[in-house]
C-alpha cells in the first residue's frame, strides 16, 4: 500500500508526475526537472519532504543515549537550536542511516531520518534504548508535514509568504528554532541556502500555496537528486548502506573517533580503517555516468555510486568509490555500455551557492 503525504492533492493539482519512492507516492517533477533544478540554483524552489520522519527524544538520558547511538559527537551541540549531520552505525560499522540531530535543550533533541529507512531506524533506536536501559522517550512525529524551501531567494520569499515565521530571519546556517508549533531550520539538501520547515499537517497545504504565490517553484524528487549530487551530498541506499563503512563513503567528517566516548560501530571502524576513497568524477566524453558503472584507475577498479547529468555544469558527474591512492586530477575510464569513456577525478563538491566549483 503506497503512502501519501498530506500534500499529495497539491502535487496532483499542479500536474506532477508521481512515482513510488520507498513506498511513498511522491512527485518526480512538475513538467521539467531541469527547470526545477535551475529554480533552486537561481531563485527559490520547494520540496515536499513530509515522507521523511522527525523523531523527538526526551528525557534525562538524551545526551548519554546519543553519545553512544551517533557516530558524530553530539556533545558538540551546546547552543540550543544547533544541528549536526551524522550517521547511526551498526556493530560492524555499516551505516544504518544518515540523519540530522537538532539540539533543543539537554533533555530534548530531534532527529530527522530517511523515509525508506524510518521503520528500521525506529526499531533500531528503540532496541538500543532498551539494551542500554536509558531514560529516553522516543516519539516518531509522523503527523508532521515537512517542506524544504531552497535557493538564493528562498529565505526572503519564505519569510515574505509566511510572516508568522519572521523570527526565523536571524537563524544562522545549521540552526533551528521552534516558532509556535512550527519547527524551522536553516538546513537543506541542495547546496543552497534555505529553510526546512516542519509543521502540523493541517496547515501544510495553505503554507505550500502561500509559498507558491510568493514565487517559490514546486520541485520534485528528480531535481532534488541532481541538486544533492552537484552539492556532493550522499544519498542513503545508493552511496552508502549497512554494507558500507562511513569512512569509505566520504562521511569520515561526520564520524568522531577523537573523543574517548564509545559508540556503536567504533570498534569496527578502528579495526578496519579506510579501505576506499569517495571522490567525484567529471565525464570528459559525451554520455551520462550512472550508479554501478565500473571505473578503471591505475590503482584498480572502482564503482560509481551516484551519477547523472549536472544541469548547472551541463556535463555528467558522479560520486564514486575508488581505490586508495587515486588522487584529484587523475584521469580514469568508465565503462558505459561496453565503451571506456574518459573521466577526471575531482573533489566531490561540484556546485555550491549557485557557483560551479569544478
Amino acid at each position: 500500500m503506497t503512502r501519501e503525504t498530506v500534500l499529495n492533492a497539491e502535487h496532483r493539482a499542479s500536474g506532477a508526475k508521481m512515482v513510488d519512492f520507498g513506498g511513498w507516492d511522491m512527485p518526480l517533477h512538475y513538467g521539467s526537472q531541469i527547470e526545477e533544478h535551475h529554480s533552486v540554483r537561481r531563485d527559490a524552489g520547494m520540496f515536499d519532504v513530509s515522507h521523511m520522519c522527525a523523531v523527538d527524544l526526551a528525557g534525562a538520558d538524551c545526551r548519554a543515549f546519543l553519545r553512544r547511538l551517533i557516530a558524530n559527537n553530539t556533545d558538540k551541540l551546546q547552543v540550543p537550536g544547533k544541528a549536526l549531520y551524522s550517521a547511526m552505525l551498526d556493530e560492524s560499522g555499516g551505516v544504518v542511516d544518515d540523519l540530522i540531530v537538532y539540539f533543543l535543550d539537554d533533555t530534548h533533541f530531534r532527529i530527522v531520518i530517511n523515509a525508506g529507512t524510518a521503520d528500521k531506524d525506529l526499531a533500531w533506536i528503540e532496541a538500543r534504548r532498551a539494551e542500554w536501559n536509558l531514560a529516553v522517550a522516543i516519539e516518531a512525529r509522523r503527523e508532521l508535514a515537512m517542506i524544504a524551501v531552497q535557493g538564493p531567494n528562498a529565505r526572503a520569499k519564505a519569510l515574505a509568504a509566511l510572516p508568522e515565521l519572521a523570527a526565523a530571519d536571524v537563524l544562522k546556517p545549521f540552526f533551528a528554532a521552534a516558532i509556535g508549533d512550527v519547527f524551522i531550520a536553516r538546513t537543506g539538501y541542495t547546496g543552497e541556502d534555505g529553510f526546512e520547515i516542519a509543521l502540523p499537517a493541517a496547515r501544510a497545504a495553505s503554507v505550500w500555496q502561500a509559498l507558491a504565490a510568493a514565487g517559490v517553484a514546486p520541485c520534485g524528487l528528480g531535481a532534488r537528486d541532481t541538486l544533492r549530487l552537484e552539492a556532493g551530498m550522499n544519498l542513503y541506499g545508493q552511496d552508502m548502506d549497512e554494507s558500507v563503512s562511513p569512512l569509505d563513503a566520504g562521511l569520515a567528517w561526520t564520524v568522531d573517533l577523537v573523543s574517548p566516548r564509545d559508540f556503536v560501530g567504533k570498534t569496527a571502524l578502528l579495526a578496519h580503517g579506510q579501505q576506499k576513497q569517495f571522490l567525484g568524477l567529471l565525464l570528459e566524453d559525451r554520455g551520462v555516468l550512472r550508479a554501478h558503472q565500473h571505473v578503471y584507475c591505475d590503482q584498480g577498479e572502482g564503482e560509481i555510486t551516484s551519477g547523472s547529468f549536472s544541469p548547472t555544469l551541463q556535463r555528467s558527474i558522479a560520486l564514486a568509490r575508488l581505490p586508495l591512492g587515486v588522487a584529484v586530477g587523475d584521469h580514469v575510464e568508465v565503462d558505459i555500455r561496453g565503451k571506456r569513456l574518459a573521466a577526471r577525478v575531482v573533489k566531490p563538491v561540484f556546485v555550491r551557492h549557485g557557483k560551479p566549483l569544478i
Binding site: 508526475k17 518526480l28 517533477h29 521539467s32 526537472q33 531541469i34 528528480g222 541532481t226 559525451r286 554520455g287 551520462v288 550512472r290 547523472s308 547529468f309 544541469p311 555528467s316 555500455r337
Partner: protein, 128 residues
C-alpha cells in the same frame, strides 16, 4: 497529450516511423516515450552505413533519470543521422515527432506496412 500523427507508423517499443518518398524510413521516439523519460540530456546515434536488424538496439537516449534503448523498427542500413538532436537532446522533449533520430534504407520496403498505425499504437499505450 496531443493526438498521434496519422501519417506515421509506430512500434510497441515507442518508436515512430515515417515512410519517405525515396523508399527510406525516418525514425524517432514518440511523445509518450519522451514524456516517460523526462528531460533528455544525451543521444547516441548509430554510424551511417551500419546494417541493423529489426528489433536490434540502434540508438540510446538518456534523460536525467534513465537511459533507454531505441530499437530498429525494420531491418536495413542507416543512411542518415540527425546531428541536431545530439547537440540539443531537449528538442526531442519539445517536439518528439519532428526531432527525428536516424534514417534507414529498409531491406524490405513493404515491412513498414506491418507496423502499428496510430489507432493501434494508442491502444498499446492506453493498455500500459
Amino acid at each position: 497529450m496531443s493526438a498521434l500523427p496519422a501519417n506515421l507508423k509506430y512500434t510497441k517499443s515507442h518508436e515512430w516511423v515515417r515512410a519517405e518518398a525515396d523508399g527510406s524510413v525516418t525514425i524517432g521516439i514518440t511523445d509518450h516515450a519522451q514524456e516517460a523519460l523526462g528531460d533528455l540530456v544525451f543521444v547516441e546515434l548509430p554510424p551511417v552505413g551500419k546494417a541493423i536488424a529489426a528489433g536490434e538496439e540502434a540508438a540510446v537516449v538518456e534523460s536525467v533519470k534513465a537511459a533507454a534503448d531505441v530499437y530498429a523498427p525494420l531491418s536495413g542500413v542507416v543512411t542518415a543521422i540527425n546531428d541536431a538532436v545530439v547537440d540539443a537532446p531537449e528538442s526531442v522533449n519539445q517536439d518528439a515527432f519532428s526531432a527525428w533520430l536516424f534514417k534507414l534504407q529498409p531491406n524490405d520496403a513493404a515491412a513498414v506496412n506491418a507496423l502499428l498505425d496510430a489507432a493501434a499504437y494508442q491502444q498499446a499505450i492506453d493498455a500500459e
